[in-house]
């Protein structure tokens, strides 16, 4: 008879303890909403065709189907996702891509090494002023989100995915397939 309240209390404690983690994984809002335009934002190119220069890839890609990935920082999780993005770009040639590290120019050597070791072809870039960069405001990026991935076509956001993990990358691939229409 006593067991029922004990189990109930244990479940309640577990629920309360897990709630912030669950919220962090799912409900962090970051990035421009679906239907919003994708305005210009200037980054410092690290490994792309404009290496070492400021560049607006979004302007260059114009209305092409595009994946814009913002990563809060460098690290193993970011590396795993960059590899996945690169694979996706290789599979879907019509898809344009840019992966930006928000934390700033300090991430340059890490990105260069990653591109070299993993054969990354998509442009890897950094925010010129780190977390103080105006692109944080322009793209409504939340500093609490580990990553924000926007899928766009005709310079309009068609999917907004936050805190994506390698295991949930299929959501990005599916969103990209939808805008490509099977191409």
């Amino acid at each position: 008879m006593r067991r029922i309240p004990v189990v109930f209390v244990a479940l309640l404690i577990l629920g309360v303890a897990a709630a912030p983690w669950a919220a962090d994984q799912r409900s962090v809002a970051s990035g421009r909403a679906v239907g919003d335009i994708t305005p210009s934002f200037v980054v410092l190119d690290v490994t792309g065709p404009h290496k070492g220069e400021p560049i607006c890839y979004i302007c260059e890609y114009e209305g092409a189907p595009t994946v814009i990935a913002f990563f809060q920082d460098t690290g193993e999780e970011t590396a795993g996702l960059v590899v996945k993005l690169n694979e996706l770009a290789q599979q879907k040639k019509a898809l344009k891509m840019v992966a930006a590290v928000i934390s700033g120019p300090d991430g340059k050597p890490w990105l260069e090494k990653l591109a070299q070791e993993k054969g990354i072809k998509i442009p890897l870039v950094v925010f010129r002023k780190g977390k103080d960069d105006v692109a944080m405001k322009v793209y409504k990026l939340n500093a609490e989100a580990k990553n924000t991935i926007l899928v766009s076509i005709n310079r309009k956001v068609s999917a907004n995915l936050t805190n994506v993990g390698v295991e949930s990358f299929n959501l990005v691939a599916e969103a990209a397939s939808r805008i490509l229409g099977g191409k």
Partner: protein, 146 residues
Amino acid sequence: MIRRKSIASCFIFICMAALASVVSISQDKGLDPKGQSDYPRITCEELKKLIDAKATQDIVIVDNQPEESFDEGHIPGAVSFPWTDQIKPPVKLPRNKTLIMYCPCMEEEDSIDMANKLKQFGYSNFKLLKGGWFRWEELKYPIEKK
């Protein structure tokens, strides 16, 4: 007689096909901002000279960056007119002056697109800033902040 008729109809068919392809090519060009890049250009050096000489009475410098970026820095005297997918009237830019458009783009893509859109509102006098905002920054020319 039948032969003449068939030659004539063949000729008409070829003419119509040629006309259709010309129309199709010109329509495609209209949709592609890069295909409409025949707007005249002005260099940063030339614009700077106009600003320095206070000879800007016949021009308006139009900044196509997002408003937040404009607030952080823009060419002195520029007005903010951010790139958008659809311009909403009323457009408050003067029609009797040359609009000098610039953006943070390598090949003025956003400014070309905005000039194409402004044409639909009766604007026709544009110049694009060659190299745009990047070139202006590179030359370390003065920047105005809001």
